[in-house]
């Protein structure tokens, strides 16, 4: 459905490209999680998809047609719920919906029906006359989402929609996203909360430095990566233990435990045998794949970003 090919973009006065050849696809009805540290190029990529930035190099197509042409004919097929509260604080909830519905070229009874549907979806009916600036953070996020849904888009771009909200509002927003996915809306969801992505996304794209580091289903990405063993051992001096563990993969101390990223999943039993033969006593050991956060950190490194 949506295909991004070798997309590159450099801001005026930008020293390095914000995007440096990004390619991936999103199929109709998919929920794709877009991950990346600050400055990775996520917002620039989203801005391209929303039509807010022109394509400098590469191409974006929707159903085989260049996105720019698709947007010319129907700019509301792809909608965005931006990270900022992109509405008018001095207007009431209904006035905001009215304004953006008209801007989306909705008219008459259809416009009213969509406004009511979005109010109901975001559970904002009680607040229709409240000025947006007086809403709580969670309600503002819901209004932001409701506005994005007004034109009933085929694809929705959600840019960190749960930043700064309480757990209740966060749960509500995640439920809303799942409901949209069930209805068949294609979703591209960016967040720094890995557990959110794990809970709603069927595919994940991780980008950094304007490039795609990996893309695929969550299952594949986590399975492809090397398995890990986390264990606690006594009876072996630390230096010796470290060299033993390092012979099976990358070893590091996490709290009071050792974590070994194995070079091969099949070497786990051999690791345990080796430790026992060296006189060590394995107090406990857990074997499993990395979670998304570990994968993300491994791919994007630990160094702090601007």
């Amino acid at each position: 459905m949506l295909a991004i090919r070798d997309l590159a973009f450099r801001y005026p006065q930008g020293e390095t490209p914000a995007l440096a050849g990004v390619s991936f696809e999103i199929q109709r009805g998919e929920v794709v999680g877009l991950l990346g540290p600050n400055g990775a190029g996520k917002t620039t990529l989203i801005a391209h998809l929303a039509g807010a930035l022109p394509v400098q190099q590469g191409e974006i197509t929707l159903d085989g047609q260049p996105l720019a042409r698709v947007r010319q004919n129907n700019p509301t097929r792809i909608a965005i719920a931006p990270q900022e509260y992109a509405f008018y604080p001095m207007l009431s909830v209904r006035e905001n919906l009215d304004c953006f519905a008209a801007a989306a070229a909705l008219k008459g009874a259809h416009k009213q029906q969509r406004i009511e549907a979005c109010l109901a979806f975001a559970q904002l009916e009680r607040y229709v006359t409240t000025r947006a600036e007086r809403l709580s953070g969670g309600l503002k996020r819901r209004l932001n989402l409701a506005i994005a849904l007004l034109p009933k888009p085929e694809m929705l771009l959600l840019d960190e929609p749960t930043v700064g909200v309480d757990p209740q509002s966060r749960a509500f927003l995640l439920d809303a996203v799942r409901a949209l996915a069930r209805e068949g809306t294609t979703l591209l969801y960016t967040s720094h909360y890995m557990e959110e992505i794990e809970s709603i996304a069927s595919r994940v794209v991780i980008i950094d430095g304007g490039k795609v580091l990996c893309a695929g289903t969550l299952e594949d990405l986590l399975r492809e990566r090397a398995p890990q063993v986390r264990l606690a051992v006594e009876g072996i001096p630390e230096d010796k233990l470290k060299s033993l563990l390092a012979s099976f993969g990358q070893a590091e101390i996490i709290g009071s435990d050792w974590q070994v990223t194995l070079t091969s999943a099949r070497s786990a039993p051999q690791l345990l045998n080796t430790l026992e033969e060296a006189g060590g006593k394995v107090l406990y050991a857990s074997f499993g794949r990395r979670n998304l956060e570990q994968l993300f950190m491994a791919l994007t490194r630990r160094s702090l970003r601007d």
Binding site: G51, P75, A86, Y88, E95, A101, A103, A104, P151
Partner: protein
């Protein structure tokens, strides 16, 4: 779509009390305060200024002079020894001092050797127009009296002197009148146009403020992603403020016509003015103000910049453009600078209609200048608007 965006603009403005105050209250206050404060500059109250008299001559002729002065200026204050100090500190407006040789001097044909016999000493703070008016009146009275005296001495016909002296005066041959649309210039007639133009340009603050806010919060970008064109966005801002400027104009004129008289000032006169020309020049001012506001709004990045830059530019344009200080009191080089200010073009156009009875021929040039300025500003706004989207 355009109507909904215009409605949004008006709703936002209606909830911005500071913006409303700047657009409506501030120019009204300026009109009221400045019209009343400057009332006497345009109409010096020379007839009501207090004065004292020192008559050291004490003759019939000096008495005649003082009697005629009393008829025009009312009775003098009671004489006091410290009158000079009173004049010096402004508690008395002026003093007339008739020296002992006044009557004798009137009879002399050659005045070169007579020295000063009639003195006018005024409060140091007396406005120059009032000083000139009193001095001229005193000169005229003394000249008439001297005319009477000289003729009577030549003919020896005391009785005929009055008539002849009157005949000598050219006053009846002269009529001085300021040509206008049917009313003489007053502070109201000058101040309403000035502060009306100033107030219309204050849409800069409101437009720029909301513009920055919606750009910062992402609402503008969101409108763009929904397919709203730059042209529609600019129009949705320009059209409501044309209406706001129209309401401002009606309100300011109404204040001049009905409110100022209630406060003791003279009413703004709209009789015999050419309404079509007034509408043309006001529309031109409005377009120029809105165009400048949009260009500035597209240029600034923060609320602080919007709140500071717009009013600063307005005040500077007003200061050099003859809004705060009338152009006619400026020196030549400042008058040439004033002609660079769009506010001056607007002011001259409105004054041409309200004060000089101007019609199309008198307002087309300032209207064209303002129209050109507006077009330039709209183009800059559109270009900056598109650039800021990237």
């Amino acid at each position: 779509m355009l109507l909904a965006l215009m409605k949004k603009e008006l709703l936002a403005l209606s909830r911005d009390l500071h913006g409303l105050a700047a657009l409506f209250l501030m120019p009204i206050l300026f009109i009221v305060i400045m019209s009343l404060a400057l009332k006497d500059v345009y109409n010096p109250p020379v007839k009501t200024i207090s004065y004292v008299v020192e008559d050291h001559d004490g003759t019939e002729l000096s008495h005649t002079l003082l009697t005629q002065w009393e008829k025009r200026h009312g009775k003098p204050l009671d004489h006091a020894d410290n009158w000079r100090e009173s004049v010096q500190n402004g508690t008395v407006g002026y003093a007339l001092i008739i020296e002992p040789g006044f009557t004798m001097a009137l009879f002399e044909q050659n005045l070169d050797e007579q020295g000063v016999q009639l003195r006018l000493l005024t409060d140091p703070g007396m406005e120059s127009a009032a000083f000139s008016a009193i001095r001229a009146e005193l000169l005229m009275l003394a000249s008439e009296l001297r005319g009477q005296v000289l003729l009577s001495s030549v003919r020896g016909a005391q009785q005929a002197a009055g008539n002849t002296a009157t005949a000598l005066s050219a006053e009846k041959l002269i009529e001085a009148e300021r040509l206008s649309a049917g009313t003489r210039p007053t502070s109201v007639q000058q101040n309403v146009p000035a502060w009306l133009v100033f107030g219309m340009f204050f849409v800069v603050a409101s437009i720029a403020g909301l513009f920055v806010e919606e750009r910062q919060c992402g609402a503008l970008a969101r409108l763009a992603t929904l397919g709203v064109s730059t042209r529609t966005m600019i129009l949705s801002k320009a059209l409501p403020y044309l209406g706001i400027n129209a309401i401002q104009s009606a309100l300011m004129l109404a204040v001049g016509v009905w409110v100022i008289p209630l406060l003791g000032g003279e009413a703004l006169s709209l009789t015999k003015i050419h309404w079509g020309s007034l509408l043309l020049i006001l529309l031109s001012v409005s377009l120029a103000a809105i165009g400048m506001a949009l260009a500035l709004a597209s240029l600034v990045r923060t609320h602080a910049q919007a709140a500071a830059v717009g009013p600063i530019i307005n005040v500077v344009m007003a200061a050099i453009g003859g809004i705060m200080v009338p152009k006619f009191v400026m020196p030549d080089f400042m008058q040439r600078i004033a002609e660079l200010s769009p506010m001056n073009w607007g002011l001259e156009g409105v004054l041409a209609v309200l004060l000089r009875g101007g019609r199309w021929a008198e307002v087309w040039l300032p209207a064209a200048k303002l129209g050109g300025f507006a077009l330039l500003m709209f183009i800059i706004a559109a270009l900056l608007f598109r650039r800021r989207e990237v």
